[in-house]
Symmetry: C2
Subunit: 429 residues, 2 copies
Amino acid sequence: MKRTLSITGARTLKAEMHAMGERARVAAAVLREASTESKNNALLAASKAIRADKDKILAANANDMRAGEARGLSPALLDRLRLDGERIEAMAQSAAAVAALPDPVGRELARWMRPNGLDIARVATPIGVLAIIYESRPNVTADAGALCLKSGNAAILRGGSESAHSSAAIHAALIEGLRKASLPEAAIQIVPTIDRAAVGMIFAGLSGAVDLIVPRGGRSLVARVQAEARVPVLAHLEGICHTYVHARADLAKARALVLNAKMRRTGICGATETLLIDRSILSSHLVPILDDLALAGCEIRGDKEVCNAYPSAKPATEEDWRTEYLDAIIAVRVVDGVEEAIRHIATYGSQHTECIVTEDKAAAERFLFALDSAIVLHNASTQFADGGEFGMGAEIGIGTGKLHARGPVGVEQLTIFKYVVRGDGQTRA
Amino acid sequence: MKRTLSITGARTLKAEMHAMGERARVAAAVLREASTESKNNALLAASKAIRADKDKILAANANDMRAGEARGLSPALLDRLRLDGERIEAMAQSAAAVAALPDPVGRELARWMRPNGLDIARVATPIGVLAIIYESRPNVTADAGALCLKSGNAAILRGGSESAHSSAAIHAALIEGLRKASLPEAAIQIVPTIDRAAVGMIFAGLSGAVDLIVPRGGRSLVARVQAEARVPVLAHLEGICHTYVHARADLAKARALVLNAKMRRTGICGATETLLIDRSILSSHLVPILDDLALAGCEIRGDKEVCNAYPSAKPATEEDWRTEYLDAIIAVRVVDGVEEAIRHIATYGSQHTECIVTEDKAAAERFLFALDSAIVLHNASTQFADGGEFGMGAEIGIGTGKLHARGPVGVEQLTIFKYVVRGDGQTRA
């Protein structure tokens, strides 16, 4: 069944969305019991279909890019939106990589025997129906669809309007995979409209069909989720990530790490947005680090001391400490030791990913212990905040909430569990 | 600082509740870094204080019981509300048992090395500020307070108005424990008013102070949570638990299990509310099982076949299959094999706890696999749905949602995790 990008005919959006929820629920019951083999067959067939459909996907993406340029999307957004042969091949490989992962469903997470002979096992199970709401990056369609399928969950995908054609073309390849494996096509559905009212209906749960919403996006999406969601949300919020160069940082490592953390790719949530540097190494470390950044095309916004030491820096405002630029801009602040760095991050950060650069083990451990962020790193780039880099295969995103899962959300994180208790007639005293 | 049961003076309820949230947030930052020893000291001192305050707690409870009887509370509610020497001793023991549990904070849940040398650890951390909203059982005050403290979370407790005096007396003992261990008293706060508007403010998150709400209660609380909650919720909903007597059930086991599952204590969420029985064993098993129940004072409501086979049964209505009686009433329905039992439970149940009684291993495994409930049991009473019985120490309740934790929620389930990544200068390619 081909789904078009706008609702046609007499059915209202509401009826269409609720029917979608109902189809997802029925599909979820099938997926919950689906064999590992059939799920993997679907993923491998989808991987093939993505490769086979490369030209169609590129044509659809060209459509989206033209429209995006005409609408004046920012370079960061256009970078997220753009597909090329390499990125399509990466999607195909990612679907195959998800097939190669162990099945997260049915894992025995723990098992113990009680003194009364009860045998208790905690066993991983799918969550049910997941709604993934994302923005411009069309590869999320492939990754989210593959991860939901492998974890036995039905997916309702809602990408950004700017990537609608690209996502629809990728979705067609996923459906091809499901069909080849005789799994229900409703296992991965894509919202067939760019009407934002559809998102509100998903937030309301589609009459109880949606078990979990995974929003990935910026502040306006976050605000909407908080105001409207009536079902559980696995938050994937912004990444105001910090790299802190401590007094005992090795200069060569600090230069390489800051440059990579900020500039390797500026549009991803793990990109460093704020650099903190100890006052005691201003004269030795600051200039070379900032020169590297400036040479790479990065705009530097500093506090007063930074501007004094590096006159080409622009003055930072209070707002800069709270900003996820997703662009070649960095905010730079001088601090007085690890405790002040921790305080700054706790005050202004988004509990996503933070790095300390130091050769001082005690300072590193203090930073790693004290910060309540999803990912804390010692002497490693914040751009490692990624499920693939963590060895989890693909990821749906980086969780920044305090429930269920934080950090990269891969197939294991898309499961919940139940307790299976085996007895031989035990009654409770 | 003594808190009274009503807000006095010029401060508004809103200001008081938000100040409570702010105090909790500050306390949570201290608790997150508190040593195992100081948390355990507080719990052991609280345990002592509960014993020492026994007469005060009983007097406060007598107050609540008198008011409850005057208000005409149901026998089930009064049973939940009642304290006696034994139940107070159980609370004291429970606090000490929580002290004896391993500290769930700082556990290394997983650790692996990446090919590039990054050393990745998933480490358990507290969630932050937990708001526990419960109804009549005053021992929840002690259990929830102890579990939150051990797991490094600040607690905001809001019990039912009917148990307000009992809870306040128990809370005083917990505060005594915190004081003895030099931990912030705001680590465990109790909402000092029975004004229901306070619950609405908690649902709204107290200006971002609340990380997680744990509601324990009936349908009206559930409906309110779904309509109003703006922060994550760990649902503890009703338990419409089933015991299914399969064609190959051992009669003696079935009699003992059904009687225990229904009648051991009717007011708890793990009590069986619906009995399903296979048609093929109606003549052999039904009458003895129902006779046991009737003799124990249980009212029996059956479908047509049950009423034919057991004439003293009242006819069940559609509503009975969806009802959590929490009382000496059972609904009984005839089914045709394990698949029909599974369908009934999936349709009418609340995904809490279900048991199959059978000597047929294949039927048992099918039941355990197919049902998507928090706890599924083979030949064991549904009344084992309890953190203590699972060996977790005390519990806050039985989670019935699909996120974070299902089944008994103990100290481990009140933690989340972060990733600690150790490198030596790795940058991302």
